[in-house]
Symmetry: D2
């Protein structure tokens, strides 16, 4: 297999990131099958035509059913708004397409499970878009843990801090409406932390959470792209129906204690996706604003030189980096998507499920929903309460 034909639905922030990944992949990882940017789909004809031209897609369509039906498509890449994921994914699976779906998989756990069932019934590959796993520093963390160099893990504490909602005049964009986004900071940001926690530390047994919406009405927005938006403080306002911040405590199956916090009200933090892990043999620390770095501590270091090391994960010893630039020459946010696309291409070539896949997306969704229940019922909730007997 030399090439994989891609059809993509959605062309905003994630659509741009995925498109760039497909463009870069063959140049930096020439040994993998090359993604072919076949068709892109969006509801606005002018918008999708412009995106196709700019991003480099051969065809532009406005009906996702048309795209899903095309015989010249191998993979359907779904990064449309979250409320559209389920229907598209199921249809694409039925059409025999491999699936690559941005997180969150769906608006509910039940929907996500339907999507997985459809994918499994169709025998297609299913990948969940959780890009942070693909930072070289995160891969290094994984390697150190797997090799036992951090020992038994006692603590995982993570925060995903943003500040784009601190200004009460920021408008009511779609991410603040429950019916479209499903959830606020919780589904958007904690989803990433939960995936990293599972990837690095393992499954979570139980959770207890708390959330808040600090600003309950906001001006109605005109348009939004990425996290930028236009609105007017004098015009009409609407209700924010998602959480501004959600925190929770967790107990891992392996015995570690977890602390999670997602907020869009942390002034000064544009995108602090950070965590620390403390084990019996050492500790690890990561902050996405310095994504090329991993701080590493070993209890076994000589007595007089114990301290966290700032490891710049740009050496040949670090995953992916030989494909890019010499040591010390850093990469950025977008590169995580190139590595994610690489995993998808290699999984298809090797006829295995990519990681993370829909099962990971569902595990993540289970924790998110357990936290929601915990908040509603003011109690600890075991993840096992959400399990289906016959399925997972």
């Amino acid at each position: 297999m030399k090439e994989v034909q891609i059809g993509m639905i959605g062309y905003k922030f994630m659509g741009k990131a995925h498109s760039h990944a497909y463009r870069d992949l063959p140049m930096f990882f020439p040994d993998a099958p090359a993604p072919v940017m076949n068709a892109i789909c969006g509801r606005d004809e002018a918008g999708v035509r412009e995106a196709a031209k700019r991003f480099g897609w051969a065809h532009a369509v406005t009906d996702w059913r048309e795209l899903v039906a095309r015989p010249d498509i191998d993979v359907v890449d779904i990064n449309a708004p979250s409320d559209a994921h389920k229907e598209i994914a199921i249809a694409a699976a039925k059409a025999g397409k491999h699936l690559f779906c941005e997180k969150p998989l769906a608006l509910s756990l039940a929907d996500a499970r339907e999507m997985l069932a459809a994918a499994e019934a169709a025998g297609v590959k299913h990948m969940a878009g959780l890009n942070y796993r693909f930072a070289p520093a995160i891969r290094l963390a994984k390697k150190l843990i797997e090799e036992g160099r951090i020992g038994r893990i006692h603590h995982f504490r993570a925060v995903f801090l943003q500040d784009w909602l601190v200004d009460p005049a920021f408008p009511l964009v779609w991410r603040l409406k429950k019916e479209v986004a499903g959830s606020g900071s919780h589904g958007d940001l904690n989803a990433h932390l939960i995936d990293l926690a599972r990837y690095l530390v393992g499954e979570i047994n139980e959770v207890a959470g708390m959330s808040e919406t600090f600003v309950r009405r906001r001006p109605i927005a005109e348009s939004m792209s990425g996290l930028n938006a236009q609105g007017s403080a004098d015009g009409p306002s609407g209700e924010v129906t998602v959480d501004d911040a959600t925190l929770f405590l967790a107990r891992f199956a392996g015995g570690a204690l977890g602390s999670f916090e997602a907020t869009r009200f942390a002034a000064g933090h544009r995108c602090t996706n950070g965590f620390e892990i403390n084990g019996s043999e050492g500790s690890l620390r990561f902050d996405f604003e310095r994504m090329n770095e991993l701080e590493v501590y070993f209890t076994g270091d000589a007595d007089d030189v114990q301290g966290f090391r700032r490891v710049l994960a740009t050496d040949p010893a670090h995953a992916y980096m030989e494909a890019w630039w010499p040591p010390g020459h850093t990469i950025g946010f977008e590169h995580t998507f190139v590595h994610e696309a690489l995993e998808l291409m290699e999984a298809i070539r090797d006829d295995r499920q990519p990681e993370p896949n829909f099962r990971d997306g569902i595990r993540c969704q289970e924790v998110l929903e357990a936290v929601d229940i915990s908040i509603a019922e003011r109690r600890w909730v075991a993840i096992a309460e959400l399990k289906e007997d016959d399925h997972d």
Copy 2:
């Protein structure tokens, strides 16, 4: 009033820190009443004599009742193990002595309340030993908050991370025995975080917590001073009866969300007492391992130069610093005790209660106990549940 006669009970880690504070105070803050190091008390005669000589106390006694009874003592400074606080404090109050008691005030909230009642009945000053308030960087944080420069507070997240228990061969010192220490990382470390939270953000309404003892048996220790100890891995072992780590979520009366974590299992952290506060106008960040620094962010900074500032709180604009050295010349841990002693001297001179006092110690204890109940009953606990109708 020119001088204040001190009698101190206890001469280990805190006794050393307090002694040094009394020695330094007159040199650096000559306008305050001078503490006179009159008598020191400890159960071991040789030990207390040696401490008296080394630290500079005029007299050494082995019976705290004798010290409390001395007519030439104005203040009784209690830094003996926690289980002795109550009896001494009540006796000293009855003898008309001002009280300066290390945290935690007592092993239980009920005991702490008895102590306050005794102090109030006797009309004496009562100070609680919560030294971190007295770091210049913390005073700066307080000032910025009080002046509204951070705006309305949305988030307080704090950790007190130590690592002296990561090694399972570390012995069973008194701090690991519930009957002496009352509690583990929770009472020892969260107590400080709660006091800082109350000082900076305000009262807490409700909490939900989680705790763990990772290593449940340890070798029996011979002796312990400070956090150092001697033990033998081959000898007999005993049960650890306190928590190694305790985390909790909190909701403040003012609407902020709080996250607290105390642990002695955070490899690589000798003494990270750190927090971050996010407000509507800015943020603050502190880490005791860099205690001379406060990181400060303002949302109102010009668009192109927004970022956390590393403020070195050693300028004349910062509390206490003109008494010490020129800007850029840092101070250390022990200086917080000098400032604490200054507050006590000035409160006595001005005939007012020092801050923090036993009421603060009780507020802190209420939160600690609410967390304990929350952990035992696996539910959210309102601080109001612990209030006495007629007292607080």
Copy 3:
């Protein structure tokens, strides 16, 4: 003008970086003329064919004269080894091609001047490849200085620290041979620092330098790409004929004092291209290993909150960033080349010389050579000593 046809000579480290820039440019900066990757040239036929395919060039040739002669080429991009720059550039200029030449322009100042003369005689655009100017954080530094927000500049101190030569078994690659590379750390690394100094602070009047070659013989290398190389410690060795480290002091025309250091022997530094600027109103600090950040200090900040701010230059207020990702989503090394290519495209479209151009390359070369003279003659050397009466 919608498109610009590119012919590129060289396909190793810089060839890869330039190729990627041409690929990315139309997607992220669609309003600029699009570079068309027409033809690539290299001496090894298999190698250049492979590079053409991988990087996305339409044609591959092995004779640079053929490439220069093609009528369908608008720009000749020269990133072959330094000793080939002059001949190619002059021929390309004579053929009426715009020039884009990697630094250093040539092996000597005299050669560089010939290249400029040829470009001017032909009336073509001439750009010098000094990519670090194009980091958003550097653009922010430039803006703050130009707007007077840092005041009069007193100090510029810069280091370019690498460590790939610390191991004496590292082989004798072409960068260590004077006849090919022209110079060692001086021409390779100080060239960048000098360009940044000129860009941000202004012209240099005089210099005094010092250099050293710590390891004078090394194993002969087989091959080298980027900074990686293969060699054998047991095989034959050869002489290192360039400097491992070169330092110099400088006095700027505007009165500032400068300190420059380039070395490949700074263990722990993969690529620390860093500087600090101190002015009468504030200071700036940059480190390429954290290239998305600029530290900024203002003397005018309120007395109690003075400190260096860590500005993450990923906001819409920062140059280029609206084209990429939302705030807090960082970019990497390669993006500087995209911005560099953007400048070239826009300069051609607007019929103006790009910045930096060959004049900047020559100014940089003058300083480099003045330092060389200073080292040889152990004295201060004025840049004016190297000026041609009739030209610069």
Copy 4:
């Protein structure tokens, strides 16, 4: 020997630091001979009486000759302004007193040599006040170097950055007058860097320097204590006769290259005394504003976890720290003087010369003067040019 009687001349910034050291020493280092604060001397009677009372000296005198003549004095501690050092030191030596003289020893190398000759003729101990050597992090650096853990040293680069002169309205204090201070940033700040360089890397062979006085006239000051001063911008002004900034390059006897910079015009730096050392096996980094930390890098670390470690030098494995507080509890500027006084006490007890002593002060002075000559004559100056045939 149990006690050492001290007589001290000077009672401003350094007098305060020394006094505090004598007060603290017996409490924290009880095994050393105890300094007895016998007599303090200053020209202003009220001032010196006040200082004696505040700092804890038994007697106050206004004539240093009286102090030097007292039979009950063992050590004369000289921290008066630099122009008074020589006469006092020689007289004290003749009176058989041990000498403890703040840096710079004298206004000239010749004077410093006379002082050493006097001390040697009298057979007394002579200590130079270079306190930074006594930071635990610096001791750790020394240990790592001595044990060969950093390998052969290639680079030493150091800066001492302050900013108290950036404001042109800052008054003309004594430190800005050559006849009193001897020199500006060079003698004040580079002296410390040179001493650290010698202590850690070894002797310097040759230097080439540059200096500048950015603000040449300043308002005349009324009074000055420490680095604070009062002045009036409208009143009369006077000429600044010392350097605001001095930089120099150096070549060490061992082959390392050195870069030194001292300035009082580095906005944002209150007291950045920092350096980095690069060796063949690792690197070290220090910044006095974070004086409890040493950053350490080892080339021998595993390939995937190479990085600078932030070592908090507060563990029992670090010099002096067991005498203070538990790990993670930091110390400050003043503690360096306690350790310095400890060295003096132990040297007297053990009948050996303390380190650093007058010979170190002279070595330092030689480098300072070689730089001055280099600046005046615009050439490299070998330290050997300043050597006396018959003495050093």
